[in-house]
Amino acid sequence: MSAVETATASPASEKLRERLAASPLAGRAKVSDLDLPTVEVAPDDWPALARFLRDDPECRYDLFLDLAGVDNLRRAGAPTRFEAVVHLHSLAHNRHARVRVPLPDVEKPSLPSVESVWPAANWYEREAFDLYGFDFPGHSNLYRLLCHDAFVGHALRKDYAPGQRWFYEESDLRIPEWAKETGERAGHFETQTISIGPSHPATHGIIHLLARLDGERIVRAETIIGYLHRCFEKMAEKHHWNQVIPYADRLNYVSAMINGVGYVRTVEKMLGVEVPERGQLVRTILSEFSRIVDHAVCVGANLVDIGALTTFVYLYQNRENFYSLMEACCGARLTVSYVRVGGLAIDVPEDFVPRCRQLLESIPKFVEDVETLIHNNRIVRDRLQGTGVVTREQAIAWGLTGPMLRASGVPYDVRRAHPYDFYDRFDWDVPVSNDGDNFARYLVRTEEVRQSLKIIRQALDILPAKGPVNSDDWRVVLPPKDAVYHDMESLIYHFKLVMEGIRVPAGERYEWIEGANGELGFYAVSDGRGGPYRLKVRPPCFPNMAAFEKIIQGGRVSDMIATLGTLNVIAGELDR
């Protein structure tokens, strides 16, 4: 798409090169022009570069998006075995950038922590420490994040044997120092540390919160995640490009379609394959419906947590209706596996458009009912307004995206900032709020439901009635079955695709779309074989959860429950 090209064309990297040459870092950072402007730097210069990238008026990369480790053990032509790859976004200039830090030390790969520059880096660095064994001197809390504390080795290293099992016992639980102290202070009753979760009805999935309470007030908290870690990234390395799709579905299982679209877009960009208009629009329509469902689940579940059960049932009725439509398209309701690299698994059914229009009519009625029930309800207002406040500066520093960031007053929406598919052709608004509290997040989500309905309506209007949904490049897409049964060449293409997978040119790519929770990014590295060499997901609720312990500090336990609901943490995506 044209917008992608402008975002990744050389002016951005030219500017970066110019500014770097004028800075004290001149000659120590190399800028290259890949899909994104890429800066390569030695580990020792990384904190200086980080500060430069954040503070330089021409750069201002203030949003820390992702840190991915890469193990180049089996990849030809890489200078060092390990490297750390960071993705950043500049809100002021609306562009992405990549920083690559090759780590020369094989025995003890290490790079300084940039937690002081971008607080969001905290959890990403812990993740890289856990899965790759990178050391981050200067990090405040460098412990394992996704794997448990009795785990030995680093799971994403290429020489780690995946068959090993490490058993975890209760005594292995790492208790932070602050939780061990007896909290007696002058003028106070003794504070106590309790565990909320891992299996708690309000945690929606399995999340463990260790909190020190002073009466009802949370003095300090730490989130322990990883209970649903199922090695998505390691599994991806073992499978073909298309075979990753069912795994990607299970990241954010509430809006599985969006994950699939995000993933296959990355692969399609690496291949240079174009999906026909009809295929793209069907993806857009179903993604927007998925977003509505995701917001409905988030709002509904959040309200259940604070005691309003009826709204949940009304919102879920939409979800049921949408899942029936999804099932008619692809044969499954929740984990859809509908997209394929180069298009869709199968064309939509004949009654697709009327069924979509029917949904477009029924969804607003339920949303209105929900608004009547809760919008001006004082209990809801008292529980949500003024609790879980995130200021604009905090939201940016913590690397939040999606409704969380927009509710804090930053109108960053990937569909607007980096329009993919047909989003630049639709007329819609980005809802923002300046309040930053739980109620603002609820308002942003309900407004986004309306905007999504608007987008779907316009997409249905321009959806071609007939036409292919798949690319006709049969080195990527399976040929039609009729041809496979009776035509030798088609059978050969079919065989090559199934047995060897799609051969994606060697290289790397970061593609990002607007997931229901925020920016959903996939960083893929290919070495030219049929499957990914490395696939890193930037799950949008990961920074949300990292910020959680800071948001709830000082608040009450009941507010913590309400806040957890509006963060919309989906454990499948958080723990991968």
């Binding site: 499978h239 799709i245 069912p246 795994y247 291949l271 240079g272 394959v273 009826t310 009725q317 029936s324 099932e327 008619a328 044969g331 499954a332 984990t335 596996s337 698994a345 064309d347 059914p349 009547t372 029930l373 001006n376 309800n377 004082r378 207002r381 329009p419 639709f426 608004d429 980005v430 809802p431 923002v432 709020s433 309040d435 603002a440 308002l443 942003v444 490049d473 080195r475 399976l478 040929p479 039609p480 079955k481 009729d482 041809a483 496979v484 049964y485 009776h486 035509d487 060449e489 293409y493 079919h494 065989f495 199934v498 047995m499 051969r503 994606v504 040119p505 060697a506 070495d527 030219g528």
Partner: protein, 229 residues
């Protein structure tokens, strides 16, 4: 493209005196719930809930449920044990052991064809991968077991029994009558005969075929050469 809408200034962030009283808001809420109750009581047919298991949800002809192994007219399996579904399966739940078929024309057949239903993710990749139209899926989703061993379905549980109706009807399959993409309203009732004919016939029918030389494309030439050597 359009602008940004500020929801915080929509005028509703402050509650009025009446709203602060709580009771009017709850009465309006009650009106909504009572409306729903009345509608559900008077129009039971449109109830969103289903009295399972007495009634079942109507699934489409694409539903991905339990697999079924298709047979030839003589009752032998269509499967030729080419291992393509086993290779395509992302969950690695299919196990095939190939054998030599006594009938020369059939050459190869699966001695063992196991699907571990506990591992299966019902993605339908096996159906897409099959070049022989030998594996379909049905709309049977009632798969419950007492043990792990029971969950591994062999040929005896997967094969289509001649003369017996398929439980809940056929679901996801690679090929439908007509243009091959759209299942008819009740896909289970319609017999499917895959199209017959050679290349020219397929062209006449408008089935797109790959050209003999697809030209340079996204294929990665060096690694292909590497794979050959």
């Amino acid at each position: 493209m359009s602008g940004v809408v500020d929801v915080s200034r929509s005028g509703s962030t402050r509650l009025t005196f009446w709203q602060r009283l709580y009771l009017p808001a709850i009465l309006r809420g009650m009106a909504v719930t009572i409306r729903h109750l009345a509608r559900n009581l008077t129009d039971m047919k449109r109830l969103p809930t289903i009295l399972y298991p007495e009634r079942k949800r109507d699934y489409s002809g694409r539903f991905r449920g339990k697999h079924i192994l298709k047979t030839r007219e003589d009752g032998s399996l269509k499967c030729v044990a080419c291992y393509m579904c086993q290779q395509a399966c992302p969950a690695e739940c299919i196990t095939i052991v190939a054998g030599e078929h006594p009938k020369v024309a059939y050459e190869k057949y699966p001695v063992v064809f196991d699907i571990d239903m506990l591992r299966c993710v019902f993605c339908g990749f096996c159906v897409d991968a099959c070049p022989k139209d030998a594996i379909w899926m049905t709309r049977d989703y009632e798969l419950a077991f007492f043990s792990r061993e029971e969950a591994v379905f062999g040929i005896d549980k997967l094969i289509e029994k001649p003369g017996l109706p398929v439980k809940d009807g056929y679901g996801y399959r690679p090929y439908y009558p007509g243009d091959g993409t759209n299942p008819p309203r009740d896909a289970s009732a319609v017999a499917v005969t895959p199209g017959q004919g050679d290349r020219s016939l397929l062209r006449e029918k408008g089935v797109p075929l790959p050209s003999r030389d697809a030209g340079p494309g996204p294929l990665n030439a060096p690694s292909q050469a590497e794979a050959r050597s």
